[in-house]
């Protein structure tokens, strides 16, 4: 994902001289270094000062530039929430925050670097568009769409390599959920690296005669209500899956849509009300309940409730 982001920035930089990039001393990890290498005069390393980076990005946007500002997801919005609120969201400036190292799959760096609240924070800001791509192909597409659509964007990437769930012909459609698989018994609504886990879970569940419908919500805000409501109507049960706290992320947003428009049983695969710890990415996902196995368990539970 990160490599894909860096390469796409370079392409965009070639296409549009108004694209500028900022980083906060993490350009080797966020991969904005690829842009820095090609366009040194349009790259601004702000040092370890995220609040200042956000303000500079806002000033660039107010002067007609299209700034991409990157750091780890735990530091933006976490470290600079008020700056994002007042300098970007309130005046609706054309700043693109693309953060990497979302979630707990960051791994060994531990709690200080695990971003599990970022989506809740950023979705709370009026006017922000929030995208969580599922793989490298969708990342490239989403970054392109962010560059060409006016307004504040937040794109959240993760650290580890994730399996491709899309082919090269895929075209990201802003604000539209993607049907990854047709099914009739339950809908799994997944985001980010949980999409491949959902696909794996659905294959296994087929052997138990459970036919899963799978939606990838990559645009978390504004959410595709139509797709969610029709999935609820057609399958009668929903499981959400995200690499984020249970509160304030995908599950919360879907629950609000469902409660208002088409109430059906829902189960949530997400991090419970806790911080994680150091460990390998796969170990952490397993310990904190973010695997295909956890999705299968949630599907079985929700189907029971549906039957009851």
């Amino acid at each position: 994902m990160r490599q894909s982001y860096g390469k796409t920035l370079v392409e965009l930089g070639n296409e549009n001289p108004d694209i500028v990039v900022l980083d906060a001393d993490l350009s080797r990890s966020t991969m904005t270094q690829l842009f820095a290498g090609e366009f040194p005069n349009r790259f601004f390393d702000c040092g370890i000062a995220e609040q200042n980076m956000v303000g500079i990005a806002a000033g660039l946007a107010a002067s007609g530039k299209i700034p991409f500002a990157s750091t780890f997801a735990v530091f933006a919005p976490g470290r600079c929430f008020d700056q994002i609120r007042m300098s970007i969201a309130q005046p609706k400036l054309n700043v693109k925050l693309v953060t990497t190292h979302g979630g707990i799959s960051v791994g060994e760096d531990g709690t200080s670097h695990h971003s599990i609240e970022d989506l809740s924070l950023i979705c709370s800001l009026p006017g922000f568009t929030v995208i969580v791509p599922a793989d490298a192909i969708e990342t490239a597409q989403a970054v392109r769409v962010a560059a060409t659509s006016y307004g504040p964007f937040y794109v959240r990437l993760c650290r580890p390599k994730v399996p491709l769930v899309y082919d090269q012909d895929y075209r990201f459609n802003l604000g539209k959920a993607v049907t990854m698989r047709q099914g009739k018994d339950v809908t799994i609504i997944a985001m980010g690296l949980m999409v491949s886990a959902a696909l794996e879970a659905a294959d296994d569940l087929m052997r138990e005669d459970i036919d899963c419908h799978i939606l990838n919500i990559s645009t978390l805000k504004p959410i595709d209500k139509v797709a969610i409501i029709s999935a609820a109507a057609e399958t009668g049960a929903i499981v959400t899956a995200e690499e984020h706290l249970e509160h304030g992320g995908l599950g919360s947003i879907i629950a609000q849509v469902i409660a208002r428009h088409y109430p059906v049983p829902i189960e949530f695969v997400a991090i419970k009300d806790t911080y994680a710890q150091s460990g390998e990415s796969a170990e952490l996902l397993q310990r904190y309940g973010l695997t295909a196995k956890d999705i299968k368990q949630a599907v079985r539970s929700v189907i029971k409730r549906k039957g009851g």
Partner: protein, 243 residues
């Protein structure tokens, strides 16, 4: 918060707009305009009055200040007020924003200048010093910061609440060209603005020593009036003294 002592400083901002900035009130988004960023957003009424006098909107509209549906919000809002460059009010954010404006000007080979008005109390915020470091690092010599150095903040004198001294040396140490002026002296202010234009390779800060509530005997240097409106009797006395 309303800042009743601000109107006493009104003439200074109007002078800045009328005499020192290159701008077109008929075209607030003119790409080559000089930018004036009010970082201390609570001084919004001063800015509104200066903008109205320049013709950005009718002077009568000033009476709608802080009322429902007014374009003149309690703190500045760039989305609704013509001529307002930045939404401010959460202190400490204006310098960073202004750096972005100056970097864009440099990338575009535009010769506009950007000015940012900071409060001295506002310089308690860490982001100001992140910005101070970055402005010098990026050598934005098209940026001038002006600090309204009235030595007071809401809870009292700066030196008692959070000491900023030595203020001048802090900016010097961060790599800025520093000019100190009597903020109530037109000539000194204008000279400082012109001197800043000549400085190459580093940003300039004009530390304007001011007296809060200047010209109104009972408001001068009285932190009591920082965020408190005078009563009717006090207004009458103040207006007489300012005549």
């Amino acid at each position: 918060m309303v800042t009743p002592v601000a109107p006493c400083q009104q003439w200074r901002l109007t002078v800045v707009y009328c005499r020192l900035l290159r701008h077109k009130p008929s075209d607030p988004q003119w790409s080559d305009r000089d930018r004036f960023v009010l970082s201390k957003g609570h001084a919004a009424p001063l800015l509104y009055a200066a903008l109205a006098e320049c013709g950005y909107f009718p002077v009568d509209e000033l009476l709608t200040l802080r009322q429902m549906d007014s374009r003149l919000q309690g703190h500045t809002d760039r989305a609704v007020t013509p001529g307002v460059e930045m939404s401010a009010g959460a202190l400490g954010q204006g310098l960073s924003f202004t750096i972005g404006i100056t970097l864009a000007g440099r990338l575009n080979s535009q010769d506009y200048r950007a000015y940012v008005l900071l409060g001295d109390g506002e310089c308690d915020e860490g982001q100001i010093w992140e910005g101070a470091m970055a402005a010098a690092h990026f050598k934005v010599d098209n940026l001038t910061a002006i600090v309204d150095n009235n030595r007071q903040q809401i809870d009292g004198w700066n030196r008692d609440v959070m000491n900023l001294d030595p203020f001048n040396s802090k900016w010097l140490a961060f790599g800025w060209h520093v000019i100190e002026v009597d903020g109530h002296d037109f000539t000194q202010l204008i000279d400082a603005f012109n001197q800043a234009k000549m400085v190459k390779g580093q940003p300039t800060v004009i530390i304007a020593h001011t007296i809060k509530g200047k010209g109104v005997s009972f408001m001068e240097n009285n932190p009591y009036f920082h965020g408190k409106a005078p009563n009717a009797e006090e207004v009458e006395i103040a207006l007489k003294e300012l005549e």
